[in-house]
Symmetry: C2
């Protein structure tokens, strides 16, 4: 059975997935980049950016596993780009250049319709205006037996958790106290019920904790 | 310089130091005991309970270090006992039997005066009715150059953090999602500013993260 997965979401020890005072210049808030220091040097992350080399070991293993077996991705509109409201023009094509690191269909949740965008390397951005269930159905169809990844941001992940639609939830806790920002674990209304820890691996850079629903 | 320390506070991956629905029968809430599974088998914890044997290794090292060099302890009234309001009688003498594991003066924050209680083994419970600063002053005097530990509960720790009085803050993150309860990192109003991670050690049972103020 294909699963719906949330992988490698970086949070601070005090529970924030983004720092305070998010802005266009500072999309993950003040101090937010400190959440990802474990990620940047890994071989798998560098590979996603078209670079070679990088560190191996458990941090890298979690990055690699988080991308493995994923046939479609869902993301919120703010993860796709900084534009708010109706699409002013069709110029914005995501943060990732002409060949995004997805290589499969990506469903962007938005209230504003837009035609699909076919990028290089197999990524196609689809814009879904009829909600999280519709997006998930399309993504599962497109994934063709592989898993669907809920990539982010926080509010998108929370919506899927609250609806009880997530089978696997994995976070990477960074050795940082942000003191404020956007909480990952907030307003979930019982959406975490039934999750049991399946992996719990600490490195000097992050603690990787993976949870799955009993029986999932 | 003596330091003010918070050590070995167990929290879930989603940030709760106690589960939902706390009650007299369930003082750390539903599921709350799962936060302490890393603690119970350790040699140092068993020793505090007058038992012998137990596990060594990093979990035990953090328990032992958390008790080392502490000359006085501060705790909230709810950590001392389940009684609310004025002390009905003098019968309640803490959860710990006639020889509590502190072996030094313990300052209990309360709104209701009560005479000190001298226990076996060096523990004396003092009841402080004039606030957290007064309690800290008395504890530092009594500690005579050693550190002061803020033992808990959550609201007492939060008050000292909010007032900027804590030099070292250490948590043990357990591989559990509680889904609700009492958050440790909440309402701190900038009280975490300046803390940097000094230790970050994961075991199969817990992730130990210790933070200290820069220069502290």
């Amino acid at each position: 059975m294909p699963r719906v997965r949330v992988n490698n979401i970086a949070v601070s020890v005090d529970g924030y997935a983004a720092g305070p005072d998010q802005s266009l210049e500072n999309p993950i808030g003040v101090g937010g980049s400190r959440l990802h220091e474990w990620l940047f040097p890994t071989r798998s992350f560098r590979e996603m950016q078209g670079r070679v080399g990088g560190e191996e070991g458990p941090d890298n293993d979690f990055v690699a596993a988080g991308n493995l077996g994923v046939g479609a991705t869902i993301m919120g509109r703010n993860m796709f780009g900084p534009i708010r409201g109706p699409w002013a023009d069709e110029q914005w094509r995501g943060w990732w250049g002409e060949e995004p690191p997805y290589h499969h269909p990506v469903y962007v949740l938005t209230n504003h319709p837009r035609d699909p965008i076919t990028m290089l390397g197999g990524t196609v951005f689809h814009f879904v205006t009829d909600g999280i269930h519709a997006a998930l159905k399309q993504a599962l169809d497109a994934a063709d037996g592989q898993d669907v990844k809920i990539a982010g941001g926080v509010s998108t992940i929370q919506q899927y958790l609250r609806a009880g639609l997530v089978d696997e939830l994995e976070v990477a806790i960074a050795p940082v106290l942000l003191g404020g920002g956007e909480r990952l674990f907030s307003g979930l209304d019982g959406g975490l019920a039934g999750f049991e820890c399946t992996d719990f691996v600490g490195t000097t850079m992050a603690l990787h904790a993976r949870f799955a629903r009993s029986g999932a």
